[in-house]
């Protein structure tokens, strides 16, 4: 399938996208790196000066930094956990014969189509609000004290909201994967005397592993930079309890307008993201090859 002709053509055809993405990555990145060494606050133009590593020092010594790091990972892992486990359960349920499967599927897909801002607004105001939210009404109806989700478990609440948005994605991928499980394999296992649970453990789960890795890969890419949900619901608080790295950078960039600090934060976030990516890619790479 490969001759000199096709190979050189292939290079030419890769070029536009590679160059564009390279530019997209390199140009702002180079500017960001440059800014990260400047004392540069938007609100004080004309005062830019070389700042060495002080922006990095400030960002890394920010008391919120480690919390943000932790929160970033907690959000990624928490959402992954919920969506993968929930997704598997839901996929198995939806794979059973039932009436109105198409409609149920439509219902389940819906959250994926919603803008993150809208989703966050709806959850925050209409569900989690401790006075007027639906959960509060429910709690009061059964005689309980309404729980103030966004204040008392801010990180958990954000994880729930984000997981709600991503559950459909995981479910659908896993459902499709489930449906591709070789019918004969299931029958063979049945003949071999495997019950439903054994079939799930020994057959279904290994079969789903590839789909699960794809879910993890794609979701991680998006989850590392969860932002709108935090901005809308908790604003990173109370304290810094729901601040993740993206939000921390945001605070530098758009609250303090400290471009230098934000750039340093951005660079640090990029580096951390790439570390995550590196491990992820190695993990995924293996499963995707097979």
């Amino acid at each position: 399938m490969a001759t000199l002709h096709t190979r050189s053509a292939a290079r030419a055809m890769m070029a536009p996208s590679v160059l564009l993405l390279l530019a997209w990555m390199v140009v702002p990145l180079a500017m960001t790196i440059y800014f990260s060494f400047l004392r540069y606050n938007l609100l004080m133009p004309g005062m830019e000066e070389w700042a060495g590593f002080s922006n990095y020092r400030y960002f890394l010594t920010d008391p919120a930094f480690f919390q943000a790091l932790f929160n970033t990972l907690a959000i990624v892992l928490g959402v992954l956990l919920i969506t993968v486990i929930g997704g598997i359960a839901l996929a198995i349920l939806l794979d059973q014969p039932m009436f109105g499967q198409g409609i149920v599927r439509i219902l389940v897909i819906a959250p994926f189509l919603i803008m993150p801002t809208v989703a966050a607004l709806v959850w925050k105001n209409m569900f989690m609000n401790p006075v007027n939210g639906l959960f509060a009404h429910l709690a009061k109806a059964v005689g309980l004290q309404p729980y103030d989700f966004l204040n008392n478990s801010p990180l958990m609440s954000i994880i729930v909201i984000v997981a709600w948005q991503w559950l459909p994605f995981a479910t659908l991928i896993l459902l499709t994967a489930l449906q591709s499980l070789d019918e004969e394999q299931k029958e063979a296992a049945q003949m071999d005397g495997a019950g439903a649970w054994s079939r799930f453990i020994y057959l279904t789960l290994p079969h789903l592993s590839r789909a699960i890795t794809v879910v993890i890969l794609i979701q991680t890419i998006f989850l590392l930079s969860v932002f709108a949900e935090i901005l809308v619901t908790t604003n990173g608080g109370p304290g810094t309890q729901s601040t993740n790295l993206t939000f921390l950078v945001y605070a530098q960039a758009l609250l303090q307008f400290d471009v230098g600090g934000a750039s340093a934060g951005g660079i640090i976030a990029v580096i951390l993201a790439n570390i995550v990516a590196f491990f992820l890619m190695r993990m995924i790479g293996k499963t995707l090859e097979a």
Binding site: L42, N152, P238, G239, L254, Q256, D258
Partner: protein
């Protein structure tokens, strides 16, 4: 010609948006494009744009905080051609002084102005056998709040801002701290969160809210509290004077006829915890359409506009707090029972000497330096956490002190 106007999604602005037909019919060659955004988003968008000279907007809605800072940077055009009948001298002096640059020129025109005051439920006070004095103390307020509270019936004695943000909880807390004798910085820009006055203020606030506040108070801002008050869930609410027209509007409020007003409380140290704020229209230096923009600013903040609103929506809905003439208008006084209290509150605020002790900065509920947005919000986060019970008051103050020292050092105030 099309003017792009960035504005905040507050009720008065939205009303203005609906009334623009009046402007466009008078100026058929000018079209208006509205960019209505939530306050924080607006601030970010507008600041980014103006600081990078993006030039996307022709008229900006900005607060009292930004005006002096931006004017100093030369980002705003002085408003010198507002027309003969504009009557600059009619603007309330307290408001106007905040919008005037060092060169004595006006850099933004106030659309509405506000201070803060106490709004309370006369019916609940009566039921509890209490009478609200015109100038209450914090002690009285706290006591009354606890008495009124009836959590089983979802009546909370007092609703105060808790949502983190320099313009949200910190606006309220800074102003309150002033009444408690606290200040942000001493004359050498040393943060003062390690001083007992702050501890008193914050302790007082957190305890009061725990006893008599609504649940989830740490995510309540102006809007959330407004909703609570309008639905009859708050006994008292200390917040912006503009809220008066909303809570007395029977169309939106279930308690419209039961609201009383009082000055913001003090602690006997000589300062009341009321702030001073105005939303203003300004013209960025980068615009190509200065003339049209000035016409619009003049229309929106002029006297005629007040009459227009009065005619269309009634006097109670007129944007308050900008013009002396409005408060002399008998019809307005009749329609707006809160008019006098508003005017008194505005006049009682002193941005130049906000605290009991001397300070190096200007601003009642904010510190007019560029770093304040970030710092104020970060400190606000800590205080919100204290309110939510996630950290203790002492911890919150300690963190706040650290943050402030860090920021001020970084910004070069502390050498």
């Amino acid at each position: 010609e099309t003017l792009t106007i960035a504005t905040v999604n507050n009720g008065d602005m939205i009303r203005m948006q609906k009334l623009t037909d009046d402007f466009t019919s008078k100026n058929p060659d000018i079209q208006l494009e509205w960019v209505t955004l939530e306050e924080n988003v607006l601030r970010q968008r507008v600041t980014t744009d103006i600081a990078t000279k993006g030039g996307q907007y022709d008229v900006l809605t900005i607060g009292t905080y930004e005006v002096p800072i931006w004017a100093k940077q030369g980002w705003l055009l002085p408003l010198e051609n507002l027309g003969a009948d504009y009557d600059v001298d009619d603007l309330l002096p307290a408001i106007r002084s905040g919008l005037t640059g060092e060169d004595g020129k006006l850099y933004a025109a106030p659309f509405y102005g506000e201070s803060s005051m106490v709004m309370y439920r006369k019916d609940l006070f009566e039921k509890a056998g209490l009478t609200m004095p015109d100038a209450p103390t914090w002690e009285f307020i706290a006591d009354a709040a606890r008495k009124i509270t009836d959590k089983n019936n979802e009546i909370y004695g007092i609703c105060l801002r808790g949502k983190a943000g320099w313009g949200e909880n910190m606006a309220f807390l800074t102003a309150t701290a002033n009444a408690f004798g606290a200040r942000w910085f001493d004359e050498n820009w040393q943060p003062q969160f390690d001083q007992p006055e702050w501890k008193n203020a914050l302790d007082f606030y957190v305890k009061l809210m725990n006893d008599a506040g609504p649940p989830g108070a740490s995510s309540n801002g102006f809007n959330e509290n407004l909703a609570l008050f309008q639905t009859g869930k708050c006994g008292m609410w200390i917040d912006a004077t503009v809220a008066a027209s909303f809570v007395t509007n029977p169309k939106e409020s279930t308690v419209a006829d039961k609201v009383g007003f009082a000055l913001a409380p003090d602690t006997g140290l000589g300062k009341r915890g009321n702030w001073l704020w105005a939303w203003n229209l300004a013209i960025p230096a980068g615009t190509q359409k200065q003339a049209a923009a000035e016409k619009f600013v003049a229309w929106a903040t002029g006297k005629e506009y007040l009459n227009l609103v009065a005619e269309k929506e009634g006097w109670a809905n007129v944007p308050p707090g900008t013009r002396t003439s409005l408060y002399e208008n008998a019809e307005y006084q009749k329609a707006a029972p809160f008019a006098k209290m508003t005017l008194d509150s505005i006049n009682a605020a002193d941005p130049k000497n906000p605290a009991v002790k001397p300070v190096p900065y200007v601003g009642v509920q904010f510190v007019a330096i560029p770093e304040f947005q970030g710092l104020g919000t970060a400190v606000g986060q800590q205080f919100a956490a204290a309110l939510a019970g996630q950290v203790s008051v002492d911890q919150a103050l300690q963190s706040a002190q650290q943050l402030a020292v860090r920021e001020m050092t970084k910004a070069g105030y502390i050498k």
